[in-house]
């Protein structure tokens, strides 16, 4: 569990290359076109080990390459694998659950609705996306195994639930000890949170599933998936539900990584607060398709205000960390900044980011601020790149 620790804590500022930091591995690169996989097909599964849970668009059973990617997020868990043709297969589950009374009536109802459930200690637990949908029907809030980017200390059922969700996303490994890089937050600068405990928990969970889990700081994963054309030099940002993760990278080596505990949930809480509505209502407003450069009503204005605040908070922190770090490499050319994560999906995110960027005197020249190719899958794909490069 050393890689991410080294990559994320302050030691890095002193020694530019982390001792046990991520080192790209060697091996053949599979040729093959970039493909898209959308439909679920129970019969033609990619990862045949995973049974009905995986599928290809073509329905032809193919073997996956060794090496998996896993984005462990407060809001979403995202797994990725590559098949022999170079297609990347993504699976995504909401990181949430709901427990209900295990009586026969409910069991029948859930079975009829084709909802996945597990009985734990006499309670029926519905996990992932169905939990979210069911919570809406019953007008309840889902329970969340993670908070602010980490396994939640207040949620007693978090661990078995996470194990179950990982099982549905990864299935068994193709080979015992298959490498699976998983994302972990960098050290938060505005909260006293225990990244190492969180990291250990997921390392242990992956091990119990038969994988060799290796942590990768989330911002670094964005660099791997989005900054190839810049020789993995630049700034990768992942704006998630619980956090913003930032990684400044020079030729694939992280020079500075940190996180802040403000993300989509922070926006939801604040918007809910000023409007006097519930947080889940605020989430719904936000995800409905707001453009923060053109707010249309009071609600959307509230969303804009907090988005601006969040973006400027993030930029200010990057700037001050840059200035206080003694070992920042000299970037010979202007760099790119790439924004990924669900929180970057709001309409106008990049425009507002560029707008706020102009307001601060950023310490190094930046040639471009752009959106990630697949904002929601960037982190998982970065982890996949790290795993595949070790084979």
């Amino acid at each position: 569990m050393n890689e991410a620790m080294n990559a994320s804590n302050d030691d890095l500022d002193n020694g530019f290359v982390p001792d046990n930091g991520f080192v790209p591995g060697e091996g053949a690169v599979a040729d093959g076109s970039v493909n898209v996989n959308e439909n679920v097909n129970e019969n033609g599964s990619v990862e045949t080990d995973c049974g009905a849970q995986s599928a290809t668009a073509t329905g032809v059973a193919t073997k996956t390459e060794l090496g998996r990617g896993l984005d462990v997020g407060t809001a979403n868990l995202v797994s990725s694998a590559q098949d022999a043709e170079g297609n990347v297969h993504i699976k995504i589950q909401r990181n949430a659950f709901l427990d209900i009374d295990a009586d026969d009536y409910t069991k029948n109802m859930l079975t009829r609705l084709n909802v996945q459930y597990v009985v734990i200690n006499g309670r029926m637990v519905v996990v992932g996306d169905p939990a979210f949908e069911l919570a809406n029907i019953f007008n309840r809030e889902t329970r969340r195994p993670m908070r602010d980017g980490m396994i939640s200390p207040d949620e007693s059922d978090a661990l078995p639930i996470e194990k179950m969700l990982l099982e549905t996303l990864l299935g068994p490994p193709t080979k015992e000890g298959e490498v699976c890089y998983y994302s972990v937050p960098a050290e938060p600068i505005d909260a006293d949170l225990n990244v190492i405990y969180h990291q250990g928990v997921f390392g242990g969970l992956l091990k119990s599933l038969g994988y060799n889990g290796k942590p990768l700081v989330e911002g670094h994963a964005v660099v791997f998936s989005e900054l190839a054309e810049d020789d993995f030099t630049g700034i990768g940002i992942s704006g998630g539900g619980g956090m913003f993760n930032i990684c400044v990278s020079y030729k694939s080596i992280p020079a500075l990584s940190f996180s802040t505990t403000r993300g989509g949930d922070w926006i939801d809480r604040n918007v809910a607060n000023v409007l006097g509505i519930s947080a889940s209502r605020a989430t719904a407003i936000k995800e409905k398709g707001v453009d923060i450069t053109r707010p249309k009503n009071r609600e959307e204005e509230a969303v804009e205000i907090y988005y601006r605040n969040l973006i400027s908070y993030t930029l200010t922190n990057i700037k001050s960390r840059f200035e206080s770090s003694s070992s920042m490499p000299n970037f010979p050319d202007p760099i790119s900044i790439v924004c990924a994560g669900g929180t970057s999906l709001i309409g106008g995110f990049i425009e507002v980011f560029q707008d706020e960027f102009k307001k601060i005197n950023f310490p190094i020249p930046v040639k471009e601020i752009r959106h990630a190719e697949d904002p929601l899958y960037s982190v998982s794909k970065g982890c996949l790149v790290a795993s595949l490069s070790e084979v």
Partner: protein, 245 residues
């Protein structure tokens, strides 16, 4: 559609109560009595007759409108009924769930509190400079301590609650070693971490084999999605690495 007519309400609203004394004072010696059922029946008949006559006279468009109104009223009633049912189920569900959960929650909470206590204790020691930083830890040594602690606890486990107990025990054992200084002389903040990983792993690998889990989870489809390929990233990463050698 307008509010449905309640014959009972109409009768109640348009009738006046008159006492028997008052009636006799007015000179009424006999009153004709119609029981409620008969009144309803008569009204029903009257209404049916009117409706039939109207329907016969109605144009196709009017008939369609009546049918539509009837249908939406029916759907409204069904929905209302469903909502009442859902509400009741939810109420009952959450009451029973709360109770069943309390016990398990308490158990797990105790374990978590213990862990948190240990963490803060060790964290404090680090802060106060009583222990060296993470780089001074011998991971081998810690690993063996954990394995030992977990192994000691393992034979007692016979089910999920025993697994929990075993985990708790392993943490207790570890905490004793940590606070006693352990082999090598000192504790450190990271000494909490390997136990989490190892003990958890022991916990999960045992609980998955010993626990009878009722679940339909393996038959359920998980959301699949599109993604662009990563081969160009891989190639770049490898060439970068070769270049730096």
């Amino acid at each position: 559609m307008s509010k449905p007519l309640s014959v009972q309400d109409v009768i109640r609203q348009s009738a006046t109560d008159v006492g028997l004394d008052e009636l006799s004072r007015r000179g009424c010696r006999k009153v004709k009595v119609l029981d409620k059922q008969t009144v309803f029946r008569l009204i029903d008949e009257a209404v049916n007759r009117v409706v039939e006559e109207r329907l016969a006279a109605a144009t196709a468009q009017e008939r369609e409108q009546i049918r539509a109104e009837a249908r939406s009223e029916f759907q409204r009633l069904v929905k209302e009924r469903q909502e009442q049912l859902e509400e009741r189920v939810q109420r009952e569900v959450s009451a029973a769930t709360e109770e069943a959960r309390a016990h398990a929650d308490q158990q797990v909470q105790e374990y978590q509190e213990r862990l948190a206590q240990l963490e803060s204790q060790v964290g404090q020691e680090v802060e106060e400079g009583r222990v060296p930083g993470a780089s001074a830890i011998d991971p081998e040594l810690l690993g063996s301590m954990i394995r030992e602690a977990v192994a000691q606890a393992a034979p007692t486990s016979t089910g999920p609650s025993a697994d929990l107990a075993a985990l708790q025990q392993s943490i207790e054992a570890l905490s004793r070693k940590v606070s006693a200084g352990g082999p090598g002389g000192s504790s450190s903040s990271s000494s909490i971490e390997p136990p989490s990983e190892e003990a958890l792993q022991a916990f999960f690998s045992r609980s998955s084999s010993s626990e009878q889990v009722e679940s339909n989870i393996s038959n359920v489809e998980v959301k699949n999605a599109k993604a662009n390929g990563v081969n160009k990233n891989l190639a770049k990463l490898r060439s970068l690495k070769q270049g730096s050698e």
